[in-house]
Assembly symmetry: C2
Homo-oligomer: 213 residues x 2
DNA sequence: CGGCGTACCGGGAAAAACCCCGTATTTCTA
DNA sequence: TAGAAATACGGGGTTTTTCCCGGTACGCCG
């Protein structure tokens, strides 16, 4: 009896070909393939065989890896979750582990490494590549120090305007507010982001993903 | 006799599994797999079977898709080049076509679409997904207007300082120049980037990849 | 040689950004 | 029901940015 395994990745080519590869290992049978978290929710609902393992891409539209991981560990705690990502992004790794996955693999992993990882997860319940194991402590530290800042709706709105060539006067007009008011938002964001100039604010906003280029 | 095909992608999992998929189509034989452009150069040098088709990832370390495409179309004009990318990035598409590839496929293409594309390329010499065909003209326009700006060494240096919380006075001190001088660099960069504020400059520098977060 | 481009520097002024001092409302929650 | 927290606004002020004007020095080239 083969081990049922599930896949979620928004890149169809990768999704399908990864499936082929897993089946070529001989021990696995792909029982569910999804393009994102939402898709996976629907497919699992009408699924007779629930997979033992799930490979989840971190970056997916509609419902991303983190959300999907949270949902899966809440509703299907029996499934072992493995994060798959192309970027070696500290924040993403932390988030996935916090959400409940038990391994994080990069997409440039060698197939034999993947096979080894899957075997180890089935036996020990977890797997860590040497590299990610080493600086795991550092990652957690980093995650704590840069704790998620919570912004209000207005602050978020102002922030995206601040990351443009508009002057504060123009932003005030755009938001139908007094210059003093946006002055206040600037001030509170400077504090929350620990910066002291608009350029710094802008840079931090990009780094933290509040705005995109 | 099967059709020899080559692959280049820095994500090993994708590389290997895509190979499996191509071979599962029945008509193709993967004769060369590379992790980047440099790797491909070495491997092609000691290669008895030169592939008819090459699938190239756009984003690779060491030597990326664009450079690899340029090199291949210069040294192996017989190989039909197909760009593979995960991002639907206008600039990347243009660059790859300009460098000499004859098709651009997204990684979330369906496998049957890939098979169709390969067949069409072998018959007609090119392939365009409907979507990318439609706004091709628009893309070219866009590519022209944002022509590559050439920066001097000092400008580049100043630019990275400008993308920080330093004041111009501090930057001047850092670069051992007068405030007036860096004033000149600011001015010339504003012109080159078509912006009128430091925030705009900063944003453009990021967008164009002159500085990173 | 004189013209030309480049890097470099200075003064001054207007605009924008930054940073205080306040007040006042609403809304939510301990 | 007191008190955060979010929202909104005003009058000051300094510093920084932005944008002009002007100039010198150096090398290159026809």
């Amino acid at each position: 009896m083969k081990i049922p395994i599930g896949l979620a990745d928004d890149h169809q080519l990768f999704l399908k070909s990864l499936g082929l590869m897993l089946e070529s290992f001989g021990e696995y049978e792909v029982v569910v393939e999804a393009l994102n978290g939402k898709d996976l929710q629907h497919k699992l609902a009408h699924q007779k065989t629930i997979p033992d393992l799930m490979l989840l891409d971190v970056n997916m539209p509609l419902m991303d890896g983190v959300e999907t991981t949270k949902w899966l560990s809440a509703t299907h705690p029996g499934i072992k979750l493995i994060a798959l990502s192309m970027k070696d992004d500290d924040k993403a790794i932390i988030d996935m582990f916090k959400a409940g996955c038990c391994a994080y693999l990069l997409k440039d992993t060698h197939p034999t490494e993947l096979e080894k990882a899957l075997k180890e997860i089935r036996l020990k319940g977890y797997y860590n590549a040497d590299a990610s194991n080493v600086n795991f402590r550092r990652l957690l530290m980093k995650a704590e120090e840069k704790q998620d800042v919570i912004l209000t709706v207005k602050e978020t709105q102002f922030l995206s305007f601040a990351c443009s060539e508009l002057t504060y006067k123009q932003i005030a007009a755009e938001m139908n507010l007094s210059e003093r008011t946006i002055d206040g938002y600037r001030e509170s964001l400077f504090q929350k982001f620990h910066v002291q100039s608009r350029v710094g604010l802008c840079l931090e906003a990009l780094r933290r993903g509040f705005v995109t280029l």
